[in-house]
């Protein structure tokens, strides 16, 4: 085992991403820091536009131009990747970090068989012969639970159902044996019954391969079932991070509390679900102070002036004046 195998699967420090636009610079992510250990699943939740997918794309080096990383560092398996050029990044993707995207129907090239795409990926990241790569491809398909893998490898994407296609996508993400997998809404496009199968599969593979998984989703149910820790994002920042049991059972940030209150619980009869009034501010209209202040029920005078930072606690970390100071 080389020394790099002791470092975490992913370490992000103070990451900021900005988009230059005609009306000035938009900061899409600011000061995002997180760590994912090997064999650990970190859930990243938040509303649309909170920056959860953006974080995943930044780690993959696939930000859509003109978006760019303007501050911070990204280390995958102990190797710094945010300062690599395009060519170097091509050999990081697939080999050190794999990805699973939302829609399995459009993630696969329709004109190539599953085997062709698997063999291509396997051979990009190893010096296996074609026959060897094919055998490994069949092995991967079996591993992700595709029945009749020997035959199915020669089928085309349109011959698979949605759930099966997402399994193929996972097999492709695993083909380079990466230590980190970015799963961006991997179950959102699937039926509920299939969702559980896919998350169980993800969890099993994560344990077996010792890979870290960044599970981006807006579905708290998936987080509760699958993740070990969870990071809650709001307007481009992480506002709370901690173990799943802790954050779900004892949310500290008012926003997280609001999120938990808006989930119906089985068995408990509640007259009305609580809801968070208003909507997340657009990137060009983030209020001064805490970005959540217009919607926060406990807002104090300090929340309107200064921006709270993540403060580590005994369990996890929270960015909220109210929580830390009682009366802010």
């Amino acid at each position: 085992m080389n020394p790099a195998s002791h470092s975490p699967a992913l370490e992000v420090k103070g990451l900021s991403v900005e988009f230059p636009t005609r009306r000035g610079m938009l900061t899409a992510l600011s000061d995002v820091s997180l760590t994912i250990a090997r064999g650990e699943i970190l859930g990243v939740v938040g509303e649309s536009g909170a920056g959860k997918s953006m974080t995943g794309m930044a780690v993959l080096g696939l930000l859509e131009p003109p978006g760019r990383v303007c501050a911070g560092e990204i280390h995958i398996g102990g190797k710094r990747t945010d300062n690599l050029d395009n060519d170097q990044m091509e050999s990081v993707r697939g080999r050190m970090v794999g990805a699973i995207f939302q829609d399995p129907l459009t993630s696969l090239n329709p004109l190539f068989s599953v085997g062709q795409q698997l063999i291509e990926t396997i051979r990009l990241h190893s010096d296996r012969s074609r026959a060897d790569a094919r055998a490994h491809g069949i092995h991967l398909l079996k591993q992700v639970g595709i029945p009749g893998a020997d035959e199915r490898i020669d089928h085309y994407p349109h011959q698979f159902s949605g759930g099966m296609r997402q399994r193929v996508v996972i097999a492709l993400a695993l083909a380079g044996n990466p230590q980190l997998i970015i799963a961006d809404e991997p179950t959102t496009a699937l039926d509920v019954s299939i969702q559980a199968q896919i998350t169980t599969l993800l969890r099993r593979l994560c344990r077996e391969q010792g890979a870290g998984v960044m599970l981006v989703t807006h579905d708290m149910g998936i987080i509760a079932e699958t993740a070990d820790r969870v990071a809650v994002m709001y307007a481009g920042r992480i506002i709370e991070i901690g173990s799943v049991e802790d954050v779900l059972a004892r949310p500290k940030h008012p926003y997280t509390r609001g999120l938990m209150g808006s989930i119906p619980a089985l068995g408990a009869r509640v007259e009305r679900l609580t809801q968070i009034d208003g909507s997340m501010p657009r990137l060009n209209a983030i209020p001064p102070g805490c970005a959540f202040n217009p919607r926060c029920s406990a807002v104090g005078p300090r929340c309107l002036k200064a921006r709270p930072v993540l403060v580590p606690e005994a369990q996890g970390a929270v960015a909220c004046f109210i929580h830390h100071g009682g009366v802010a």
Binding site: E90, R93, A99, S107, L124, I182
Partner: protein, 321 residues
């Protein structure tokens, strides 16, 4: 795949029978063939005898079947104008036009596709934008003007390439080709370039637009996330998804090229079918026109059948159809 082939070929045969029916109609009912064939001193019995010999007294269906049978063997009768066999006249001219059109098509694909890919991936760079702008000029210049300009530059001023004729031709018995001799190859350069310039720009613009569309697709993003190199991404994953419309366009344009070849053949004195058909129309030479109709349809139908098969080769989703 076999069922697919049989179905497509069956369709092609049906279309050809329909075309042959119309060719037969003009052949049989546009004017009286006997009147056109006999000389003025022929007696009524001569005419009746000829009519019987040509089988014109038999039923409509019998005549049609015989026409189709003859046409299938390449037998279209005698030209009314010079009493030569129609198929002989066409066989003499067809290879010249066919070679010209095929080379022009290959040129347009060989040059147009890479240019399209490069202008798509270099979007926003000065060289890609100037190529894109230059292609508008290519689309708007009429073919005869391009031909004359090419002759002026490469033949008259520089003297590099011949400006007219087909050069030396090698006769292979059923086919005469200019591609096996030095002078024949030199002679085909300018006319095919002149004929293909429009196609090159058309293919380039089509490929560019399709590439830009495809490069936004999810599977391209996922391929990048798998670590696929940019070169393979462009020329393997994206380009293959752009080929369907290119195949369609090319097949349709081959027909247009045969038509445009008329102008190019005139400018370059190319001994192709162009002049033959101009004369046939002028002299109402029905057998030549009927043969032309059948042969051009045959080319179209054959090409379209190949296109359908090419679709299935490119896109696995169509193989079941």
């Amino acid at each position: 795949m076999l069922a697919f082939l049989i179905k497509r070929i069956g369709n092609a045969v049906l279309v050809m029978l329909t075309v042959a029916f119309f060719a037969f109609l003009i052949f049989r009912f546009l004017g009286d063939p006997v009147e056109m064939m006999v000389n003025e001193s022929a007696t009524q019995s001569d005419r009746d005898e000829l009519r019987a010999r040509l089988g014109l007294n038999e039923g409509f269906l019998v005549q049609y079947v015989r026409f189709v049978g003859n046409a299938a063997q390449g037998e279209f009768g005698l030209s009314w104008r010079n009493q030569q066999s129609v198929i002989g006249l066409i066989a003499e001219r067809f290879p010249a036009t066919f070679e010209l059109v095929i080379i022009a098509t290959l040129l347009s694909l060989a040059i147009g596709i890479p240019l399209g890919v490069f202008t798509a991936i270099g979007r926003g760079r000065w060289w890609a934008e100037s190529l894109q702008f230059g292609s508008i000029i290519g689309v708007s210049l009429p073919s005869f003007l391009v031909g004359i300009l090419l002759i002026l530059i490469f033949s008259v001023s520089l003297g590099w390439l011949p400006g007219y004729g087909r050069g030396d031709v090698v006769n292979l018995g059923w086919w005469s080709t200019g591609l096996l001799t030095q002078s024949g190859r030199a002679a085909v350069v300018l006319p095919s370039l002149s004929l293909s310039l429009f196609q090159i720009t058309l293919v380039m613009r089509l490929v560019r637009a399709e590439m830009l569309e495809t490069l936004r697709a999810d599977f391209i993003k996922f391929a990048r996330a798998r670590g696929v190199r940019r070169r393979a991404l462009w020329f393997r994953h994206a380009l293959k998804n752009c080929l369907m419309p290119v195949v369609t366009l090319t097949a349709m344009q081959v027909g247009n090229l045969i038509a445009f070849a008329l102008v190019t053949e005139t400018v370059f004195q190319w001994p192709g079918m162009g002049m033959l058909f101009m004369q046939a129309v002028t002299f109402v030479d029905i057998p030549v026109m009927a043969a032309y109709l059948c042969i051009v349809s045959f080319i179209f139908v054959t090409l379209n059948t190949f296109v359908d098969i090419a679709y299935a080769v490119i896109d696995p989703r169509l193989r079941a159809a």
